[in-house]
Amino acid sequence: MELISGGKDQLIDLMLKMYENSTEAIFFFTSEGSTISMNPAAENIMDDHVLEQLKKGAENALCNVCRGYTSESDLTTCKDCYFTSSNHEDFTSFQVFLETVGKGIVPYAATFHVIDAEKGTRVFILRDLSMQFETQNKLQQNKMMKNVIKAQENERKRISRELHDSVAQELLSAVVDLRALKYMTNDTEVLKKTSESTATLIRLMDDIRNLSVELRPSALDDFGLEAAFRSHFKRVEESFGLTIDFKSTVKQTRYENEVETVLYRICQEAVLNAIKYAQVETIQVHLFEEGDSLQLNVKDEGAGFIVGDHPMGTGLGLYGMNERAELVLGNVTIDSEIGKGTTVHLRVPLDEKREVAK
C-alpha cells in the first residue's frame, strides 16, 4: 500500500488523533458484536449504564439506545437490523436514530462495515445530522411559506376580480333597471319602495366593492403602489377614524408585480398593527426610492412594545412581514420603544430596470 510521505508511523499517529478528537462517534465491534473500542465522541453520547454494558462487550448493548434505522418503507425500523444483518454491503451508508445523553433522540448518518475480513472486525461510524435536519426543515418551511403566500395572493386576486367584475356589475344593472321604473309609473307608493330598494342595493354594492378591495385592490395591478396606498388609506381613515399621513416620492412608477404586492401587504400589516395596538390617531407612511432601493417607513408615536418580547395577537404578522420581504430579497427592521412608538422599515433592493436585483 502506498503511504503518505511521512510513512506508516505518521499515518498511525494521524489515525489515532482522528479517533481521539473526531466529532464523529466511532465504534469497533468484533464479529460476534461485542465492543472492542469506542472513541470519546462515542462515549459522550451514551448514558453511563449503556456505556458500561458496551465496555463489558455485552450482547445487544447497542439496542438499549438504538431507536431503529431508516429503511425504504419506514422512518425507524428494526427489521433486518444493520447490526446482525449478514448483508453488510447494504449498510455502508444509512440513517439511524439513537437516544443520546442530553440531546434526546438524534438522527445520525451511519456507516457499518467490515474492516478486517479475516477476523470479521467491524466499524460503526456516526455523524450527527440534527443540525443538517434543522437547516433542511427551515429551508422547507421557508419554501412552503413562500408558496402559501403566492397561492393566497393568486386566489385573492381571482375572487376579488370575480366580485368586482361580475357580482358588482350585475348589481349595478339591477340598480339601473330599478331606476328606469320611474319613467314607467307615477305610483308614488311603488316609487318610494323602489327608491328604498335602490338605496339598499347601492349599499350592498359598496359592501361588495369593499370586500373586493380588501381581498386585493385592483388599483395595485392597474395603477401601481401610490394609487393603491392612497385608496387603502382613505378606507382605513373611513373605517377607523384615524389619519394617515402619507408621503410618497415614487409617483406613478411601476415596479415588478411581486415587489408591489410585498410592499402593499407589509404596509397593510404594519398600519393594521398600529391601529390595533399603538393607540394613536395619526400614522405616518413614507414611500421613497433611495439609491438602488425602494423603501417604506411606517411610523407611529404610540404605545410601542419590546422587540423580541412575546407579541400581542398571534405574532404571525411580524413573522409574515419578514417572510414576504424575503420573497423579493428585501428586509424589514422594526424599532420600537415603550411609550415612544414604533417604526417599521422595509427596504427592497432594485436593479437599474427597477426590477428585483437578483
Binding site: K192, E196, D206, D207, E237, E238, S239, F240, G241
Partner: protein
C-alpha cells in the same frame, strides 16, 4: 325647515333626559353620498373624528344594530365579547366609552338609523336606560323617526 339644527337639539335633549355622557345618531346619508351610514349627530363627544367614519352594515355597533334591527346593550366594554378587536368599534375607542346601549330607528319597515347612548364609566347603561332610549327612538321625539331622510 332646517333639520340639522332640529336633530342636534333633539339629541341634546335626549342626553339631558338620560344623563348620558354621549348620545350619537347614525343616519343613512342621501343618495348623492351613496346612502352611506355615518354618525351624523353627536352630543357630548370628545372629538369630531368619529363623524368621519363610514359605518358598514353588519360591522361595529351601528352596523350591527342597523343590520339586525335589534337594540344592543354593552354594560361593560371590558367584558364585551369582542374586547380583543375593539379597534373594529371605533366609537368605543375614539370616545373612550365603557358602557353603551344602541337602538334602531325604524321607518316604513326599514332601519334608517341608529341611536346610541353611552357612558365613560362601566355599568351606567342599564336595561332601564336602554328601554328609555328605545322608546325615545320610537315616538317621544316626534321628528326623529327618520322619515325626512327618505325625501332629502
Amino acid at each position: 325647515m332646517d333639520y340639522t339644527k332640529e336633530y342636534q337639539l333633539q339629541i341634546e335633549k335626549i342626553r339631558e333626559a338620560l344623563g348620558c355622557d354621549i348620545i350619537a345618531l347614525a343616519l343613512v346619508e342621501p343618495a348623492e353620498n351613496l346612502h352611506v351610514l355615518k354618525w351624523q349627530y353627536i352630543s357630548g363627544n370628545i372629538s369630531e373624528r368619529i363623524k368621519k367614519v363610514v359605518l358598514q352594515s353588519g360591522k361595529g355597533i351601528a352596523g350591527g344594530v342597523f343590520k339586525n334591527g335589534k337594540p344592543i346593550l354593552v354594560a361593560d366594554v371590558e367584558k364585551f365579547a369582542a374586547k380583543e378587536d375593539l379597534f373594529n368599534y371605533p366609537i368605543l375607542k375614539l370616545e373612550n366609552l365603557k358602557s353603551i346601549g344602541a337602538a334602531p330607528l325604524w321607518h316604513s319597515g326599514r332601519v334608517v338609523g341608529v341611536l346610541l347612548g353611552g357612558f365613560r364609566e362601566p355599568h351606567l347603561m342599564t336595561p332601564e336606560r336602554l328601554q328609555m332610549l328605545i322608546s325615545m327612538s320610537k315616538s317621544d321625539i316626534g321628528t326623529l323617526d327618520g322619515k325626512e331622510l327618505m325625501w332629502n
